[in-house]
Structures are given as structure tokens and as C-alpha cells.
């Protein structure tokens, strides 16, 4: 069975929801701890939302140096699917696995609400179960969610199709070019500000639109396995 690890840092909040989303998607959830020095034979890793290390200094700045990040960065560079959600996205930017940075919301308010998104890239390990142009509803829950990069980086992301999702129906944080999610060149590392793990069941979510993120990685790993 596909093993998907979820890292718990001190101050992570959404690790339990991410583990649950992995299970609902039919994969085996594996708890990883920030002090782990190996990845326990997982096939993919999720860095969950929250406030790792209290967001001290900058969101994600200290988590980047956690022991688990050394094998994680190496595995990500080798093609392992890695998803950073919210604080996890901030960690991936701080670790230089993704370009740019997440800065304070332009209006200075914490935003917690269902959010419309449009899928812009369905060739990543984490979005292949969607179609380009799909409009989905997935909650946002952040204060440091404004995606920022220099113009050259933004132009390159757009030219290379590396914007994975954009906000529609209102930009919740002032993100440049309405960017909600991006990927690396290989498409295995994705960072997204909205929380797909909070949109996997009718009972508790605004939608079930987030489940596709977790079934996508299963699908991706199955197709990689079939080719191998």
C-alpha cells in the first residue's frame, strides 16, 4: 500500500487532519516526527499546516533546519512527491525547494473561510486527478499567505506552467497574480496555501474537493510503479 508520511513539527496543527485525508484517499498514513533522521520508507510526504516553532523569526524559517528536513530535501530532489500545505508551503520556500516567499496578508487579517480556486496545472504528483480549469472550493486559513516573488520569478512560473492553482472569487491575502499553489520544475514538489485536508468529507468540510489532492499522489505513485 502507498505510504504517505505527515511530519509533525512542534506547533503543527493540521497533521491529524492530513493523516486522516491520506487514509480516506486509500493510502497508508505514516506519522513522521520533526526529529526523525529518516523517512521510514514512505513513498510521499506532506508538510502540514500550523505554526511550526511558533512561526518565530519567519514562518517556516526554523522548521527548515529540523533533522527530518535533511532526508526530506534529498528525497524531494530525487523525485519523491512532497506537498506543503500552508505552513508546509512556507517551509518548502524557506528550504529553497520552491521559489519565492509567503509574507503577511496585505490587509493584516487572519483569513479563515471556504475559498474558490481554479486548477491551472494537473500534471503534478498532487493534482493529476483534476482537470485544468476545474473550479473547486477549499478552505484558506492563514495570516502569512501572500505569495511573493520578484517579477522574473513570477514570469518564469507562469511561462513554465508552474502555477498550480489560482484564487477565484476574491484574493484572500493579496497574493501576487492570485497565486494559491505552485510546483517545482519536476512537478513532484507542490506548495499550496489552501487546506485540501480540511475538504475531504461532507460532514466537516465546505466541500470534498480537497480529496483529489491525496488520491492524485496515489495515482501518481501507481503510474510511476507501473513504469518501473
Amino acid at each position: 500500500m502507498t505510504r504517505v508520511g505527515v511530519v509533525t513539527f512542534p506547533g503543527s496543527l493540521d497533521d491529524a487532519d492530513a493523516l486522516r485525508a491520506v487514509r480516506l484517499a486509500g493510502a497508508e498514513p505514516v506519522r513522521l516526527w520533526h526529529a526523525d533522521r529518516n523517512l521510514r520508507q514512505v513513498d510521499a510526504v506532506v508538510l502540514p499546516g500550523g505554526f511550526s516553532y511558533g512561526d518565530y523569526l519567519r514562518a517556516g524559517a526554523i522548521a527548515r533546519f529540523a533533522p527530518v528536513m535533511a532526508p526530506l530535501v534529498a528525497a524531494a530532489r530525487g523525485g519523491m512527491p512532497v506537498l506543503g500545505i500552508c505552513n508546509g508551503f512556507q517551509v518548502l520556500c524557506e528550504a529553497h525547494l520552491l521559489p519565492g516567499a509567503l509574507t503577511r496578508n496585505s490587509h493584516l487579517h487572519f483569513r479563515c473561510r471556504p475559498q474558490g480556486l481554479e486548477v491551472a496545472n494537473n500534471r503534478t504528483a498532487w493534482t493529476n486527478r483534476y482537470a485544468v480549469g476545474d473550479q473547486v472550493v477549499i478552505p484558506v486559513k492563514n495570516i502569512d499567505g501572500r505569495y511573493t516573488a520578484d517579477v522574473a520569478t513570477l514570469d518564469a512560473l507562469e511561462a513554465e506552467g508552474r502555477v498550480v492553482a489560482r484564487y477565484v472569487g476574491g484574493n484572500p491575502n493579496g497574493s501576487l497574480r492570485d497565486i494559491a499553489a505552485i510546483t517545482n520544475e519536476a512537478g513532484n514538489v507542490v506548495g499550496m496555501m489552501p487546506h485540501p485536508e480540511h475538504a475531504v468529507e461532507e460532514l466537516t468540510g465546505a466541500s470534498t474537493d480537497g480529496l483529489g489532492v491525496f488520491t492524485s499522489v496515489r495515482n501518481h505513485l501507481a503510474s510511476v510503479g507501473a513504469r518501473a
Binding site: P99, A101, S106, T148
Partner: protein
Amino acid sequence: MARVVVDVMLKPEILDPQGEAVVNALPRLGASGVESVRIGKRIEIEFAGDADLGAAREIADKLLANPVIENFTVRVEESAEQPA
């Protein structure tokens, strides 16, 4: 002990909504003529021996500042204590 001061500022082109919020509050104090406020961080590093500016620069570049969005300066702070 030797103290090194690291000042971290958002790059000029990066939006600083906290600075803007401060500017917008200033008229309530009666302060006028302020065009802009930018907010940064001051970090003080104490070395056990002599100040090591090279080490301080590396600490600033790798951890204290994010070069994607921030600039930093590093300087040795002369002791404020009076000589004995």
C-alpha cells in the same frame, strides 16, 4: 564578550502592510509629514570571545534573513560601558 548587531529589513519592493498600518495610525497621534514607515528586525548576537563578523554574516544569510524578501546589515557594536 562581543556583540554583533544584525538589522533585517524587507527589500524596498516588498509590501510592508505593518508599516502602512503604522503610517495610517500616525494622524491619530497628531503626527504629520510622515510619508512612509518600514518595519524591520534588530537582532543582537553575543560572541563568547571576539566578534566574528564572518560567522555573523553566515548566520544572518542562512537563518536571520530570507534573502528572497529581505536585506540585512551586520556590524560590531562597540561596548557602551565606561572603561574602568
